[in-house]
């Protein structure tokens, strides 16, 4: 019994710091937010009565909600596999150490040093009509962020680019961590390189892949920066609005805190639900030690 208490105390010491901040600065405000979603909240943020499910009914009934949900899921559905494919390919390409390795590894990793807001400004300028370099290089004349057909694609390019550096680095270090005798064994067995990649290397780095998969999914569901910084209040923003950008613009900017609460809870439940499902799947498929 004493042993057990001691051990519990130890667990507590390791976990208490992070839990303290998580509870005070994330969950306590989030609980207030949940209360808001069932309340009449005025423009000053004061609760003025009970609203039942009225905020939910109103939010889900809005014309732009299905759009925002669709865009959010679409971004996640494209962003996650694209990031995985790109970073795994880059890592396989860079896996073997060569004379120039440090150079191109640095190049692949460099997007990591640019923050989201800086990247937004750079991309906005690169993709702008008439002065943008992208149109110039490809001989086009389109406003990427200014037309409904291309705005979402341009935002996706930006978010995928943002993920490359960090995720590549993780993939690379995982690949290089595969004990060399395993790779040697496949050589001796005469397994084709393609088969080696899919049958040996990828399964062996599955914990990293799983991590990149989960974090990218969550980040994709939470995407709002390009929509707010680049698209802003432009006429084409309806082509890119996401749950999070809708929450910011129709919730915060318009001081509708009930709507903001409903949207944030919706995104939270969807994201958490899917993440838990992935963890269940992980138990079966991901190989650790």
């Amino acid at each position: 019994m004493k042993m057990k208490t001691r051990k519990n105390l130890k667990v507590l010491l390791f976990l208490l710091p992070i839990l303290l901040f998580a509870v005070v600065f994330v969950y306590y405000p989030f609980i207030r937010n949940i209360v808001n979603s069932f309340s009449l909240v005025n423009a000053k943020g004061e609760i003025r009565g009970f609203a039942g499910l009225e905020n939910y009914r109103y939010t889900y009934g809005r014309k732009d909600f299905p759009q925002a949900l669709k865009h959010t899921l679409l971004i996640a559905a494209i962003n996650v596999p694209a990031t995985l494919i790109i970073t795994i390919s880059l890592a396989l390409l860079a896996n073997k150490r060569r004379r120039l390795s440090p150079l191109y590894e640095t190049l692949f990793t460099m997007p990591m040093s640019v923050s989201m807001s800086a990247a937004c400004m750079i991309f906005k300028s690169m993709f702008s009509p008439s002065v943008g370099i992208i149109n110039y290089v490809f001989g086009l004349k389109i406003g990427w962020f200014e037309s409904k057909e291309t705005a979402l694609a341009a935002c996706l390019i930006l978010t995928i680019w943002m993920g490359i550096g960090f995720d590549f680095l993780l993939m690379l270090s995982a690949l290089r961590g595969i004990p060399s005798h395993i790779i040697e064994a496949t050589r001796v067995d005469g397994i084709s390189p393609l088969r080696r990649i899919f049958r040996v290397q990828i399964p062996l780095i599955s914990p990293t892949i799983f991590y990149v998969f989960c974090t990218n999914f969550v980040l994709a569901m939470m995407t709002s920066a390009p929509m707010i910084i680049i698209m802003g209040v432009s006429a084409e923003s309806s082509a890119t609005n996401t749950l999070m950008s809708m929450m910011y613009q129709s919730g915060f900017s318009s001081s509708d805190y009930g709507l903001a609460a409903v949207l944030s809870i919706t995104a939270f439940v969807l994201t958490l639900g899917f993440t838990i499902l992935s963890f269940v799947f992980e138990r079966k498929r991901v190989h650790y030690q």
């Binding site: 509870v23 005025n42 423009a43 000053k44 004061e46 109103y58 006429a235 084409e236 613009q249 129709s250």
Partner: protein
């Protein structure tokens, strides 16, 4: 273990709750102290960036050095307008009033939150408090933009209107020597340009709440009741039954159907690159456009496009104003009052106009020698000043709670109408329903 964790969670949550329940606010006694009898520092929040930021610093330095009342203005840049508004709303929701400034620069997005704050020291309040009437010194059109729910919230600082810019060289090739005046003119111009083999578009923009309020205003109506919210918080749409919205949409669609309109928010760079002949944009953009075009073609400027021949001239104002908060300290209030008059007065307004391209909202500025000289040198600037002076006093920009949503809804409904070729009547109905639902929801949450 379970118990232990439970206890910890309870402790944490209750500790957090403790922070939430604050001490009641104490009321301060207000005693009147004569201005100048003691040094006083007031806080000023502004959003002036780039060139405007440099000028702002200059005015504040000048005021601090020259004022006779020992006033020191502590100026703080608070990010872009939307950030400053977020900051103000956050402080208000925490009721942490001691963090509020004495005076603040505000754009349209912050009007409602400021009015609702309960700490607003409006111009009506100030005029009564100091026993002075000063609003007669400002152009009515500019003042009107900062009126909400029957209160004059603040005084105009950076004032601009939308004007029509045109590429004189392109128009000359199509045989035009004057600025298009109405939507019908744009259609004619487009036909002439095509006949002359010019591939550039005639005109491009997407209507949003400020521009729609302007065009509906030209037709003698308002988008929402109570004069677009300036007399009381708006509850109903007003442009549906009187047909104003329908007239506007019909004319707008005619432009699009004739191939004269690109329904996209064009950037200044596209106008400069010669991709579009006619461009409507803020009058404060004149100097920027002139310096970027740099003589590549001649830039003309005219009054804002009118919906049709029977529409009146005039343009609603945009930009920013200065508003005051009630600090409960008479000395600070008096100092703030001096400062706001200085910032919106003739001297600063003329200098700011020359430096940036904004239009002075102080009446006597139009007779100022330096300003007259400036207008004579660059006549493109004069358009906005003339237009502002001509704007009917009844014309108002729109102020509503769900302002961002209105902005989107208008843009989207118009875009859909054009791209999906919807009937005007259907769009009037769906836009009406959509906007009314937004207003209703605002009043549901803010009874």
């Amino acid at each position: 273990m379970k118990k232990l964790l439970f206890v910890i969670c309870v402790v944490l949550v209750s500790a957090a709750m403790l922070f939430a329940s604050g001490a009641p606010e104490q009321k301060k006694e207000e005693t009147k102290v004569a201005l100048g009898s003691a040094p006083v520092t007031i806080t000023f929040w502004h959003c002036a960036s780039d060139d405007a930021g440099v000028l702002m610093d200059k005015y504040i330095k000048e005021f601090n050095e020259t004022n006779k009342y020992q006033i020191t203005v502590n100026a703080i840049y608070q990010g872009q307008y939307s950030d400053a508004t977020t900051l103000m709303k956050t402080i208000l929701s925490a009721e942490n009033y001691s963090e509020l400034p004495d005076i603040m620069q505000l754009d349209a997005t912050g009007k409602v939150a400021f009015f609702d704050s309960g700490k607003a020291f409006t111009i009506d309040d100030a005029e009564a408090y100091f026993g002075q009437s000063i609003r007669g010194d400002y152009l009515e059109g500019a003042l009107g933009n900062w009126e909400y729910s029957g209160s004059q919230l603040g005084l105009p600082f950076a004032t601009s209107t939308t004007v029509t810019y045109y590429n004189k060289d392109l128009l000359a090739k199509a045989g035009w020597d004057h600025c298009p005046d109405t939507f019908a003119d744009i259609i004619k111009l487009s036909a002439d340009m095509k006949a002359a083999g010019i591939s550039a578009a005639a005109y491009g923009t997407v209507p949003n709440s400020p521009t729609l309020a302007n065009w509906i205003g030209q037709l003698g109506s308002y988008i929402v009741n109570y004069k677009n919210g300036s007399e009381a918080s708006a509850t109903k749409l007003e442009c549906i039954d009187n047909g104003a919205l329908k007239t506007f949409l019909t004319e707008w669609k005619a432009m699009y159907d004739a191939g004269a309109l690109v329904n996209q928010s064009l950037s200044t760079n596209q106008f400069i690159a010669g991709e579009v002949a006619v461009f409507t944009n803020s009058s404060a953009n004149v100097s920027n456009i002139l310096s970027k075009v740099n003589g590549a073609f001649e830039v003309g400027a005219g009054t804002y496009l009118r919906v049709n021949d029977s529409a009146s001239y005039g343009a609603t104002v945009s930009g920013s104003c200065l508003v005051m908060f009630d600090s409960g300290d008479s000395l600070k209030k008096a100092a703030t009052w001096e400062f706001i008059k200085y910032m919106t007065g003739e001297g600063v307004q003329v200098d700011f106009a020359i430096g940036t391209g904004y239009t002075p909202a102080y009446k006597s500025a139009s007779d100022n020698a330096a300003y007259k000289e400036f207008l004579a040198a660059t006549p493109q600037f004069a358009v906005a000043a003339d237009q502002l002076a001509k704007t009917p006093a009844s014309m108002r920009s729109i102020t509503i709670g769900p302002s961002v949503d209105f902005y989107y809804a208008i843009q989207n409904e118009v875009s859909d109408m054009l791209s999906k070729n919807l009937a005007v009547d259907d769009v009037v109905k769906s836009m009406g329903d959509n906007l009314q639902a937004l207003l209703d929801n605002y009043h549901r949450t803010n009874p």
